[in-house]
Amino acid sequence: MNTTTGTSKTASAANTTSLASSKTIKQIGETVWKNRTVKINAELFTLTYGSIVSQLCQDYQRDFKKVNDQLFSMGYNIGIRLIEDFLARTAIPRCDNFVTTSEVISKCAFKIFLNITPHVTNWSNTKNSFSLIFDENPLSDFVELPMDASKELWYSNILCGVLKGALEMVQLDCEVYFVSDVLRGNTQTELRVKLNKVLKDEMPAGED
């Protein structure tokens, strides 16, 4: 029996080794965005997202809690798929620690999907939760929340769902939620990611 192990020649041959450097992560993100991403007008994206959020507000009779939930759920369903797209394009392996994960999310994932790089901050002491601060957010260009929504609606809540779903697929069980949003009149838009636990890969039935 002859077994070969080693690295793939495809996608990003260099990625597997040293993810520790955030510079590398940034490079991957930029390279993939530049060379391996089919793009579309961001404004169409903004408008499309706007149309669904306002539709949801109407469908749920302005019960914004339900709208938040629905957006989260839509995001989750995206997340569990989007992770495959992300992995296929970046070929990034699982991260060794949550700090790396945060870097990958910020500099790589957001970069190659939305072409933005929210910065990571507010680490908890235990290094199991951090915040993403969005200086720009293509979901919310030209959005102004209606008066009745400004205390309840998390306009970009779909992002939480996406992160939640995607992280779960790489066995990271997290809580993802918005802390503040400039649309609500806050000074910044802050999204919190908190790691609950690392899940184990499933085993085939009967094995242990």
Partner: protein, 158 residues
């Protein structure tokens, strides 16, 4: 003094404002008529809306029909389109056929100033429109919009 309105696609005003100064205010009688004067101007606006050359071909000096003096390419800013007993009415059509109409209490339309006023308000309107929560034909209740328009209105008084 000026009475400015934005009219939606079903003749409904979606924004109205009066621009007055201490010395220039509408007579009460005119004041309450203004919305109706504007409404009646819609007849003229709709006529001009689909004309190849946005001019009234009836060349008259008074009354309800006044032709625009502009024969340029532009068919958004229509200049003075109507009049009503000494009041002049100017109009502007957006690409979505939202109508900006203004009653000029002084009876004349200064094209340069009015045109730039309309352009600026149009930009503000567009920003309102781009908000996904705003629906075409909804009244614009945003106070920032109101304030911005009022700042712009100052140039009308020059």
């Amino acid at each position: 003094m000026f009475y400015f309105t934005i009219i939606g696609t079903s003749d409904n005003p979606i924004y109205e404002a009066e621009f007055t100064t201490a010395k220039n205010t509408f007579q009460p009688e005119i004041k309450e008529l203004n919305p109706y004067i504007v409404h009646s101007t819609l007849d003229i606006m709709e006529y001009l809306q689909w004309q190849r050359q946005p001019q009234l071909d009836i060349n008259t000096s008074s009354g309800g029909f006044l032709r625009s003096r502009h024969s340029t390419q532009e068919n958004s800013y229509l200049g003075k389109v109507d009049s009503f007993y000494g009041l002049a009415v100017s109009g502007f059509l957006t690409y979505g056929n939202i109508k900006f109409i203004m009653v000029h209490g002084n009876g004349t339309v200064d094209d340069t100033v009015t045109r730039s006023f309309y352009y600026e308000v149009y930009e503000l309107y567009l920003k309102t429109l781009m908000n996904p929560f705003y629906k075409v034909n909804d009244p614009i209740s945003n106070s920032a919009f109101d304030s911005k328009v009022r700042v712009l209105s100052k140039r009308l008084f020059v």
